[in-house]
């Protein structure tokens, strides 16, 4: 069984970010430009490698649509044990173009299984996986939290829904999976191995997909034409606030957010009173 893994090197959005308003760009504030392999993609790679280590897969190949700076992800995949890694170059960035380039490339590889991360830390759009499946006319299972069994013809996975509910799903191969960040036990790749692979050069394949083709980006068949909207403005609300608080800030017209929670109420009193207040809070927020 041959597996293809789609990787993306992204900015570590878990660290504080600065937004360049005019250019609509994100600038990480930490010491070095911290880009990491998207955690969900890493889980996809680890899941694929696990299948290979268990001898259920024969070959794992990694692909990434990126510029030269995104090659780190591909080197990591080689250090992790992938058999082959290739970079796909595109003049235009954007999820639909990424999916189209991948679809063109992967069609040639005769892969039985394609593993992608379910969403990226930066755009969080979760579009590339399903779109890729659509372009390649493959069945898909998204939001995978665990790969359970695998045979030559089908794969059984656990799919994660909200509130911790799950479904056990079986998909016929060839097919596509999108995996969540916790879906595989992360494997540590030592620095020495990473250094070793950096001496290898990663082959590049250029794709010419441009928006000049009146919105048609699929050179063979017109299956998808994604118009890209103009970004009006981007701002960063205080990440320490909960989503509801951030919402209030936005609705208040982007005014400066208050200091989070330093003035939150503290109740005191006898146990009965305290219990009653807690109960009312829970009831008000519909936890009971």
């Amino acid at each position: 069984m041959r597996i293809a893994v789609c990787l993306k090197e992204v900015i570590d959005a878990r660290l504080p970010l600065k937004v360049d308003m005019s250019a609509g760009r994100i600038i990480p504030t930490s010491l070095e430009s911290r880009s990491i392999l998207n955690p969900a993609d890493r889980a996809a790679l680890d899941s694929a490698m696990r299948l290979k280590e268990q001898k259920q897969a024969t070959r794992v190949e990694a692909f990434s649509v990126c510029g030269v700076e995104g090659q780190e992800a591909l080197w990591y995949s080689l250090a992790r044990g992938a058999d082959y890694a290739e970079r796909l170059g595109l003049p235009i960035a954007g999820a639909p173009y990424t999916a189209a380039a991948l679809a063109l490339r992967l069609a040639v590889g005769e892969f039985d299984l394609i593993c992608c991360g379910d969403e990226t830390l930066d755009n969080s759009s979760a579009v590339v996986g399903p779109l890729l499946a659509e372009l390649m006319d493959l069945p898909q299972v998204t939001s995978v939290v665990r790969v359970r069994e695998c045979t030559e013809t089908s794969i059984v996975v656990e799919r994660g829904l909200e509130r911790g509910h799950r479904e056990l799903v079986e998909m016929e191969l060839p097919g596509l999976l999108t995996l969540k960040p916790d879906s595989a036990e992360p494997h540590y790749v030592s620095f020495r191995r990473l250094q070793e692979v950096h001496t290898r050069s990663i082959p590049v394949r250029q794709f010419e997909l441009s928006s000049a083709d009146t919105g048609l980006i699929w050179p063979k068949e017109a299956k998808f034409a994604p118009p890209r909207a103009r970004v009006k403005k981007a701002f960063t609300p205080d990440a320490r606030m909960s989503p509801a608080e951030r919402m209030r800030t936005i609705m208040a017209g982007g005014l400066a957010p208050q200091e989070a929670n330093s003035k939150s109420p503290i109740i005191e009193g006898d146990p009965e009173y305290v219990a009653e207040q807690l109960f009312r809070f829970l009831k008000h927020h519909e936890f009971v």
Binding site: N123, R159, E162, E170, L282
Partner: protein, 358 residues
């Protein structure tokens, strides 16, 4: 940046704002009413009409309609098909393609749920709709435009985009943001139900089993609610107070490092830097002082409630509600109140499960 494609059909005379009814294992989700609220506002601004789309198999549709119909006035576009008993990408794509081709809405609202994100990009590709994932807010602007606020970078960046409704759009919305529409029915007339049909295509994906979440055993990172105990609990036996409250709340049990180190509870339940990072909707910390390594593991929880005998405990700096008190006195009383409330409802399911929230 690529330009807008304005070459397509003009806006329909009465634009239809469609809402996909969100269901989970045959039960209507509250998210539906949030989407409906957004849709109604938009319909009002655009002088259009909101409509609902409901998918299901003949076994589950009657109960869903029975639940839904009394609460809404909008037309329900219904597809009943055996293939729609469980979620399936192909099934939903086939059904929605049929409905949307017939209905031709300008906007389709659906939830940014695991299922929604699964099929929405493919639906958009097939029907040549635009697709905006993970939206927070939609606002109508003059000239049949929308201002859409999207969330990226893990919630740290909001991207505002203008979209002209010349081209139809699918919007996948985050839950918990909009207020659910008021469910009172001033209009006693039941809504119209319009049936559609769809082609069945063979599916290569099959759901073999449903695995409901068990707050008692599930991984704490997946729990929607957690009751967490720390050093203040005082002992292994006393941890039963935490467990009982968790049971009453349908929550999972978690602990601080001190409690795990002292052997009162297993390491898998440890929250913090050397344990797990959790982001539940509710995190109730009892007897936890809130050392920095613990806060690092839970400060992104949506609602934090803290109970501690020490007024100066650092946990209060992140709590939405803090209480000073002895958990051995307070928790049993709280648990009792919750049980009384659930018992008083009389229904066979506890109140927290009647509208299974996403």
């Amino acid at each position: 940046m690529p330009e807008l494609d304005n070459s397509d059909n003009t806006l329909a005379v009465v634009p239809i704002i469609a809402v996909l009814v969100e269901t989970h294992w045959g039960k209507i989700q509250r998210l539906t009413y949030e989407l409906l609220s957004d849709a109604r506002k938009l319909a009002a601004s655009l002088k259009g009409k909101a409509e609902l789309i409901l998918l299901g198999s003949p076994q589950i549709v009657p109960s869903m309609v029975g639940d839904l119909a009394p609460k809404v006035t909008e037309t329900i576009n219904l597809i009943e098909n055996d293939a729609l008993g469980e979620f399936s990408t192909e099934g939903y794509l086939g059904a929605l393609s049929a409905v949307l081709n017939s209905l031709r809405p300008s906007v389709l609202f659906l939830g940014a749920t695991a299922n929604g994100r699964d099929f929405a990009p493919r639906l958009a590709a097939r029907l040549r709709y635009a697709y905006f994932p993970h939206c927070l807010l939609v606002k109508a602007l003059p000239g049949n435009c929308l201002e859409i606020t999207r969330v990226t970078h893990g919630g740290r960046v909001h991207v505002l985009t203008n979209w002209s409704l010349i081209k139809p759009i699918i919007l996948s919305m985050r839950s918990g943001v909009a207020d659910a529409v008021a469910l009172s029915t001033k209009d006693p007339r039941p809504p119209d139900i319009r049936a559609h049909s769809m082609n069945i295509s063979a599916s290569h994906v099959r759901i073999k089993a449903r695995i409901p979440a068990n707050p008692g055993t599930q991984d704490i990172r997946e729990a929607e609610r957690l009751v967490s105990g720390g050093k203040g609990v005082g002992g292994k036996e006393e941890f039963v107070l935490i467990r009982e409250l968790a049971d009453a709340l349908g929550a999972g049990v978690a602990a601080s490092r001190a409690a795990v180190d002292l052997g009162w509870i297993e390491y898998a339940r440890q929250v913090g830097q050397t344990g797990k990072a959790v982001t539940p909707r509710l995190y109730l910390a009892a007897g936890i002082s809130g050392a920095s390594h613990h806060l690092a593991g839970m400060r992104d929880s949506q609602k934090i409630v803290a109970l501690n005998t020490d007024r100066k405990a650092p946990i209060f700096t992140v709590a939405h509600l803090g209480a000073v008190g002895d958990l051995h006195q307070v928790l049993p009383r709280l648990t009792q109140k919750i049980k009384t409330l659930k018992g008083g409802r009389g229904s066979d399911k506890p109140a927290s499960h009647s509208v299974a929230e996403i």
